[in-house]
Amino acid sequence: MATEQSHSAFTAKDFQSQQINDWCAGCGDHGILRGLERALAALGRSPDEVAVFGGIGCSGKTPYYLNSYGVHTLHGRLLPFATGAKLANPDLTVIAVGGDGDGLSIGAGHFVNVGRRNLDLTYILFNNGVYGLTKGQASPTLRQGEQTRSMPQSNIQGHINPIMLALSAGFTWVGRGYAYDVKSLSQLIQQAIEHPGIAYLDVLQPCPVYNDLHDKAWYGERIYSLRAEGHDPVISDSSDEQGSQEKRVQCLLKAQEWDEQIPVGVFLQDLTQPLFLEQITRRQPSYARMPPARIAVADAAGRPLSDLSQLFTELEVS
């Protein structure tokens, strides 16, 4: 279990940027930002080793407020942007942050497919049940029949369960945090970042402006800690087939709890899946020494360094 490391060279403050924050007062996003700052400081990463990619939405503005490489991308596309950067420069700590509309409707294809690549990437989804930035329409996590403050009619579409989706997509670390519990959240973020594969962290994020159904009081009555309950999420090399199976079933069961009680913590961590970068290196050994960002393209005189003579021979007429 990760703990806050007091000996880190960086403090949470080192990760705060000077950009003016325009989130509403009381928004859960502030808590997630604090959680990120603390987690990054605790991990001892230098700001120029971290790249944070944001989607579009209130949540997507997070990179502005963090002192790190900050990339504000397109609605729904943060994951492929982040994936490209990580694949090209695996030394970077890459974090993708976006809304539930961003990740579960317009970007759902990427949500699912990023799970197929066990890349060392952390995806934090700000789950507020609404489209904050476009003024409160239903997001894909809002339940059928629910009607939040600015919706003209109640929701007639079903909801997506992101934990179940993440599990079936192949994420090897699946967790859930609560934006108003910054301390636990920062620990979860830290664990998600430390996980060597693809991590999905769902954050219950109250939007006091538009989501009047799921506010502090509503969550307060329901949230409980998986860890406190003794839930063991880890599938490791020592787990047998049946043990792993049970872990997944347990995760699915926990994922479905909602109306009465809502679990937060780590649902599943599967350490048995091959890492994507190792798979790449296996078929392309040079990747380990010379990932794309380090490929030497030309010498000082601009002469290309690639030697294609062998390929030319293959394609020669004679």
Binding site: D48, R77, A85, M290, I295, S306, F312, L315
Partner: protein, 660 residues
């Protein structure tokens, strides 16, 4: 007004085509997809090349895996051969559908090598034959009092001066099986090699060339190679024993053909490797994926210093991911690209705009195909010019370059990265299906011609870490570029309008400054790029008769110019290469002395003509277009240019051919 190649008017026979050039042969093979047509055409092309010929080979196929018709044309000449021919001299086929589709296209005299074993085929039973063509052919036969069958067809061809040769393949295959001591089914595939061998022998191609080609095209296990060699020997012997050499012979070579034999997607791939491609994401789509697949197969690249590197190729979930993932990689200083075709490019436009807004060096290789929508996935068109130049919302700088042939593809693909990095913007390398499926002999690429320019990079100074002005306002519009992960190069990027520091800004003055800064980069590019990269002139450069075109039409254009010169008609051709920023200044001087001015394009509306009109205030006098999904040939273009020259053409001329 439209132009149908002379011999196709009212069916074939109103005006038989008599070859005007003896310096080239045109060979065609047709058959169902999945039967190996491609590889045998490659075998023939290579045998020609090994006989000292230059070759150009085009490939036509349906969006289907097995069964529908495909064909390949191989043109060979001891001199430069830039284009396919719509009228082959020789047709090789094993089946009736090919006869229906291609007999009418043959020159006079023409030659058909077919199978003696097929029996009588009722043409009405050919389910893959387009109803229109079926109807036409049956009508032609009925008019001549011939049966609507394969033998009726061959008879019609003979009546019109085509020599037909029916080969007893079954007997030849049996001989092969006996020699090898195996069952007949085991050698069935050798029929293709036999067909190439027989037609090659008849054309005077040496058995030695064929054997060497065989090893290159069908490398493999010893037993397969041995079977193929024997098949070749049996077929060559059969041809020698059975037929007199044809009047049509492969032209005398003028020496050995050195160089490479490859198609445009391979050429682009090599250009990218030469330029140090580090990352390419793609979503499969015809005709773009061949390039990515080739790259993935050749992802281990030796370096001149003895080390090894190579690009990371990744097949992703869709084109939205392909373009944005390549963008993400480009931010780290990786030379990054994606390759796609029309439908994929439409999906990429939002990402393209992000790259424009964030000044990301990104290369998009766009292989045009017939549109709109799914259109004609495996046919050619130049229908995406306007989309490449203007696609996406808002205004941002980008560059669009179009290569004219397989050789240019290599140098342009490499150059695209330099442009992208020097001007920090997305570069669209515009190609098309015709080019990508054209197999050509080209001079071996010279790495020494490449001079790599990585553009201006940010060097960390003494300012505090969080103060890198990624979008610094400069005279050229180009800001020194920090890389994601560079120590001390920390910065913000955003698709939202921003300040020099990448911080959100909706300040009207900042907005103007940023719009102007981004736009200045294109002015800078237009100033710096040499004329030869922007456009090229061919033919009689002082001629008033001026033909403008772009992209893969270059081959037809050069071929038509040659024919015009042969007729004593002096003309010049302008190949536009840098399509955006538009080379207006360079074109201005040419237009001043042009008349008549002709535009040639593979699309319906004349997209380049519209662009020239918008940029130059003057459109062309004649627009020659073709939009049936097949590339323009030199002979068809020549005919229409001749009509224009004689003052017999209308403003809009459409090239058609019902037998392609």
């Amino acid at each position: 007004m439209h132009v149908i190649l002379k011999n196709y008017q009212n069916g074939r026979h109103s005006q038989p085509i008599v070859k005007t050039r003896t310096e080239h042969i045109a060979w065609r093979i047709g058959g169902p997809q999945g039967s190996g047509i491609d590889r045998i055409a490659t075998l023939f092309a290579r045998a020609c090349a090994l006989s000292g010929q230059q070759v150009s080979c085009r490939r036509e196929y349906h969006s289907n895996i097995i069964g529908r018709h495909s064909y390949c044309d191989v043109s060979a000449s001891p001199g430069p051969i830039t284009c396919h021919s719509e009228s082959p001299d020789m047709l090789v086929t094993f089946e009736s559908e090919s006869l229906c589709r291609h007999l009418n296209a043959l020159t006079t005299p023409g030659y058909v090598i077919c199978s003696a074993d097929d029996g009588e085929v009722d043409l009405a039973s050919l389910s893959y034959l387009d109803a229109r063509l079926q109807h036409d052919i049956i009508e032609q036969l009925t008019t001549l009092g011939l049966p609507a069958t394969s033998s009726g067809l061959l008879e019609m061809a003979r009546q019109h001066g085509v020599h037909t040769f029916a080969i007893p393949y079954k007997a030849l295959l049996s001989r092969l099986a006996d020699e090898l001591g195996v069952a007949r089914q085991r050698v069935a595939a050798a029929i293709n090699i036999m067909a190439v061998a027989i037609s090659s022998s008849m054309l005077g191609i040496s058995r030695g060339s064929l054997e060497r080609a065989l090893e290159k095209v069908f490398p493999g296990q010893q037993d397969v190679l041995e079977m193929n060699r024997r098949a070749l020997a049996i077929a060559c012997q059969y041809a020698q024993d059975s037929f007199e050499p044809l009047e049509l012979q492969l032209p005398e070579p003028r020496g050995d053909t050195a160089g490479l034999l490859l198609n445009a997607s391979q050429s682009v791939a090599l250009g990218k490797l030469a330029a140090g491609l580090g990352f390419q994401s793609y979503y499969p789509i015809s005709p773009a994926s061949d390039e990515s697949v080739f790259l993935e197969a050749h992802n281990r690249v030796p370096l001149t210093n003895g080390e090894e590197s190579g690009p990371l190729l990744l097949q992703v979930e869709d084109e939205l991911a392909a373009v944005t993932m390549a963008c993400g990689a480009a931010l780290t200083g990786t030379r990054s690209a994606t390759a796609t075709s029309g439908p994929g490019f439409s999906l990429m436009t939002e990402g393209l705009g992000w790259a424009g807004m964030n000044e990301v060096p990104l290369v998009i290789t766009l292989y045009q195909r017939g549109g709109p929508s799914t259109g004609m996935a495996t046919r050619t068109e130049q229908g995406d010019l306007q989309s490449a130049i203007h696609g996406g919302h808002g205004e941002f700088p980008r560059m669009v370059l179009a290569s004219g042939d397989v050789e240019e593809c290599f140098y342009d693909a490499a150059q695209a990265f330099d442009y992208a990095e020097r001007y920090q913007l997305p570069v669209i390398h515009l190609l098309d299906k015709a080019l990508t499926s054209t197999l050509q002999t080209v001079p071996t690429f010279e790495m020494s011609r490449l001079q790599i320019d990585r553009g201006e990079l940010y060097r960390p100074g003494h300012e505090p870490a969080s103060a890198v002005p990624r979008f610094a306002l400069t005279d050229s519009g180009i800001s020194p570029r920090p890389l994601l992960g560079q120590a001390g190069g920390q910065h913000w990027l955003t698709g939202v309008e921003h300040s020099e520091y990448g911080q959100v800004s909706e300040d009207p003055v900042m907005r103007e400054q940023m719009m102007e800064k981004r736009a200045r980069k294109l002015l800078q590019a237009a100033q710096e790029i040499p004329t030869d990269e922007k456009l090229r002139l061919y033919g009689d450069i002082d001629a008033a008769f001026t033909i403008i075109s772009w992209g893969s039409n270059k081959g037809a254009l050069l071929d038509a110019l040659k024919r015009l010169a042969h007729e004593g008609i002096s003309a010049r051709a302008v190949q536009l290469r840098l399509l955006w920023p538009f080379p207006g200044e360079e074109l201005e001087a040419i237009l001043a002395t042009a008349g008549p001015l002709v535009m040639v394009e593979c699309n319906y509306s004349g997209q380049m003509n519209a662009l020239v009109k918008a940029q130059m205030g003057r459109g062309c006098d004649h627009l020659v277009v073709k939009y049936n999904g097949r590339p323009i040939s030199g002979e068809a273009l020549y005919q229409v240019l001749q009509q224009i020259h004689e003052g017999k053409a209308e403003a809009r001329m459409v090239l058609r051919n019902p037998y392609e």
